[in-house]
């Protein structure tokens, strides 16, 4: 037994998180910033934070993750980090030549109270930011919210720093895709192209965190949303914000700043959420959903009807980030699975109401987010009443092995498998991939553990 100290009996806990279902803000800000072409994220704090975030993203993507750090020492902790950030910006622009630097704070620089706006202003005055180059920023205190909050805050930082108001409106639709994989961002762009809708997707980590092997390491890979496109986003027709937790605050800020109206939608994971995404994209662009996409949907529905017997009634435990959990749960309900345990460490009251609605037809479901919602609790729930499938990040492998439960990796981080950066979960094609993996996990488990006389050749 790997998690041998997790008891079945659930006792009240205070002030102790065990096996968290979240991490801290700055990593989300770093990930969002990597979705801008030519951007070098910069961590304003001690160098350990930056090293941890780069390591975690690297383990997840098996890709280079470049970021600078202000390398705080005791001095900066007492006198503030201004000198460090000024020196860092000078070094970064001189040596690494980024088009844009996206600075985020850490718990230390937040607690000191460094004013990034003022320091960046000073850097400009002192000529440490070369002409035509930009520095944007986000405040990401690690003791508020989670990595999801940090992602959202950097989207707001991008909106604060880049889009410009325009007298005219283009036909282009902005899409803020939420914290999804490079493969998902690529798929969202493919769907829009298939519909003939011009879109600006930002951030866009496709081509950055799934970059090609050529024999040359590009400091700034060819992917990412171009700065000029994000600047022009202020003059676009409409914004679709995918995922309330990750994208809505940014879309709202863009509306306030530049008057671009927005629609807040769920992440297009699963059939119903993809339907809503495409319908809204069709409405705001005036372009119909083409037959080719309808056929993709048809293939997904066909898959479900063919294999429905293996999904029906299966109990699922899932953990991760609120935007994903909402649409994953909805999809599971759509295919007659039962998402019975849903846990997110990310706080936020809106999650409760939203997930309660999604799980309306699953009265036995337990869900919890924020303080006290961790994988330790979820494991205890499982010990009290078992599930048939685990859906979540890499850390689920210990529960899967101890309890003998089939496990499909989704979310962040995935340290021990690949595929997430190459193949999407969003859209109908993504849903087919997810279903294939769920089905394989369930049937592989059955083939490995069923009594010999029950072995079936045909399923």
């Amino acid at each position: 037994m790997l998690l041998r100290h997790t008891p079945k009996e659930i006792k009240p806990r205070e002030a102790l998180t065990v096996n968290p279902a979240k991490t801290c803000q700055p990593i989300g800000a770093m990930y969002a910033a990597l979705g801008i072409h030519g951007c070098l994220p910069h961590s304003h704090g001690s160098q350990g934070c930056c090293a941890y975030h780069r390591s975690a993203l690297t383990r997840h993507y098996k890709e280079p993750v470049m970021a600078g750090t202000s390398s705080f020492t005791e001095g900066a902790s007492v006198f503030g980090g201004q000198a460090n950030l000024l020196a860092a910006l000078d070094t970064l622009f001189t040596v690494y030549d980024p088009e844009i630097v996206a600075v985020h704070t850490t718990c230390l620089s937040e607690t000191i109270g460094d004013d990034l706006n003022q320091i960046i202003g000073k850097a400009k005055e002192e000529g440490k930011i070369p002409p035509g180059r930009r520095v944007i920023y986000a405040n990401t205190p690690s003791y508020v919210g989670s990595h999801v909050t940090g992602f959202s805050n950097m989207i707001e930082g991008i909106v604060r720093g880049l889009p410009e108001k325009s007298e005219t409106r283009s036909e282009t639709i902005n899409i803020i895709p939420g914290w999804v994989e490079p493969s998902d961002m690529r798929e969202i762009k493919r769907l829009a192209t298939e519909m003939g809708v011009p879109v600006t997707v930002f951030p866009d980590t496709s081509g950055v965190l799934d970059s090609v092997m050529t024999g040359h390491a590009a400091m700034y890979p060819k992917g990412g949303a171009p700065v000029k496109d994000i600047v022009a986003a202020g003059g676009n027709k409409h914004t679709l914000a995918l995922g309330n937790f990750c994208s809505e605050a940014g879309a709202k800020a863009l509306e306030v700043k530049c008057g671009v109206p927005y629609s807040a939608l769920d992440l297009p994971i699963g059939i119903s959420a993809t339907d809503r995404f495409l319908q809204r994209l069709s409405e705001v662009s005036g372009k119909p959903i083409p037959e080719s996409i309808e056929d993709e949907r048809g293939r997904l529905v066909d898959f479900i009807t063919d294999m429905q017997q293996y999904f029906w009634g299966k109990r699922v435990a899932l953990w991760g980030d609120p935007d994903q959990l909402v649409t994953l749960s909805e999809f599971l309900v759509d295919i007659d699975m039962r998402p019975v345990y849903v846990v997110s460490g990310t706080p936020g009251k809106s999650f409760d109401a939203r997930i309660a609605k999604v799980l309306g037809s699953v009265p036995e479901a337990k869900f919890k987010n924020g303080a006290g919602a961790d994988m330790f609790l979820m494991h205890q729930w499982i010990k009290n009443e078992k599930v048939d499938l685990l859906l979540g990040n890499t850390y689920g492998k210990y529960i899967a092995r101890d309890e003998g439960i089939p496990f499909v990796r989704v979310g962040f981080p995935i340290f021990d498998r690949v595929g997430h950066s190459y193949m999407p979960l969003v859209g109908y094609a993504g849903a087919i991939r997810l279903l294939e993996r769920i089905l394989n996990a369930i049937l592989d488990h059955k083939d490995a553990t069923c009594p010999e006389y029950q072995m079936e050749l045909v399923e």
Binding site: M1, L2, K22, Y52, T58, N84, A88, T94, A371
Partner: protein
């Protein structure tokens, strides 16, 4: 690997690398990057603070404590007191294998757990490469030459050897380490070899408490770099085109994108062990696999080297 292969002149490379930095940074980095001479070991600036913005390999004090030192303890509940991230990132991300035995009173194993006080804003009061030496031997045994090496973090004696360094600072450091006095506990200290036994070994020619440092083992004209920056690393690879590069997870995929396999020296890329004779065989096998993997020859599409065929297609 051709040992007699001509390597570029290290002084020239150094000057080229340093030349790109802003003046103040250049002055600092120049002292941490020296051209080796094993006969007359040059002084290397080590264990000084990282220059902001260089893109360092270094992490933090907590990572060393929680991950490295406390990481391999299985019967201790380690609680991280702070915001969630620190505990999260150090949760099972370093390799520690243990066989705790059966579940029971002696089978404690908390390695799979992450305990954190998960501090929130209301709790905040607002107030205002250590192994580079050992592996050079193994590479030598494979007939491979180390052209440049350095530590992510080390003291000068790690580079220059355990001998009298007249210019070393009193704490071998720049204000990072407390001065500690250690003495043996008269009841609890139980040495595995007695003083007499140790003396016998010494007369038989065994050496103890000795360390010659990395630089005495390295060739003349090789580069020694402390706290290497990302930029310096890229320049080295461009210059030397090494058969293999050794570093950590943050460097791995960047170096490999350049067509050079990278061996992680912290996690061994989840392989190993490399200690002892059997470990050395594991290491040789891994390096052979990495250096001679066929994939490196697949990087360049064949049509890139046959432009005339492309031209023919285009005109056809």
């Amino acid at each position: 690997m051709n040992m007699t292969q001509q390597t570029p002149d290290a002084e020239t490379i150094k000057a080229e690398i340093i030349g790109k930095y802003p003046a103040k940074v250049a002055k600092k980095r120049a002292k941490s990057m020296v051209v080796n001479d094993p006969e007359s070991i040059p002084q290397v600036q080590a264990n000084v603070r990282t220059v902001p913005g260089i893109i360092t390999q270094r992490g933090c004090c907590y990572a060393g404590c929680k991950g490295v030192v406390l990481g391999p303890t299985r019967d201790i509940v380690n609680i991280t007191h702070g915001p969630i991230g620190c505990g999260f990132y150090s949760w099972l991300t370093r390799r520690n294998q243990t066989n705790p035995g059966e579940v029971g009173p002696n089978g404690e194993n908390f390695m799979m757990y992450c305990f954190s006080t998960d501090m929130q804003d209301e709790n905040i009061v607002f107030v205002g490469g250590s192994r580079a030496h050992h592996y050079q031997d193994l590479f030598r045994e494979l007939g491979m030459k180390s052209v440049a090496a350095g530590y992510e973090f080390a003291h000068r004696d790690g580079y220059e050897g355990r001998r009298v360094l007249p210019t070393i600072q009193a704490d071998a450091d720049s204000r990072n380490i407390e001065e500690l006095h250690v003495e043996a506990d008269p009841t609890a200290y139980n040495p595995r070899k007695s003083t007499d036994e140790m003396q016998t070994f010494a007369t038989q020619g065994y050496e103890f408490n000795d360390y010659n440092g990395m630089m005495t083992e390295m060739e003349k004209g090789s580069l020694v770099i402390d706290d290497i920056s990302h930029y310096e690393m890229e320049k080295l690879i461009e210059t030397y085109h090494p058969a293999v590069f050794c570093a950590g997870i943050k460097e791995k995929y960047c170096v490999q994108k350049m067509g050079v396999p990278l061996k992680q020296l912290h996690s061994y890329d989840y392989g190993g062990p490399y200690a002892g004779f059997r470990g050395a065989i594991n290491f040789y096998r891994d390096i052979d696999r990495m250096v001679n993997a066929k994939v490196w020859k697949l990087v360049r599409p064949p049509w890139k080297d046959s432009p005339q065929i492309v031209a023919e297609y285009a005109t056809a």
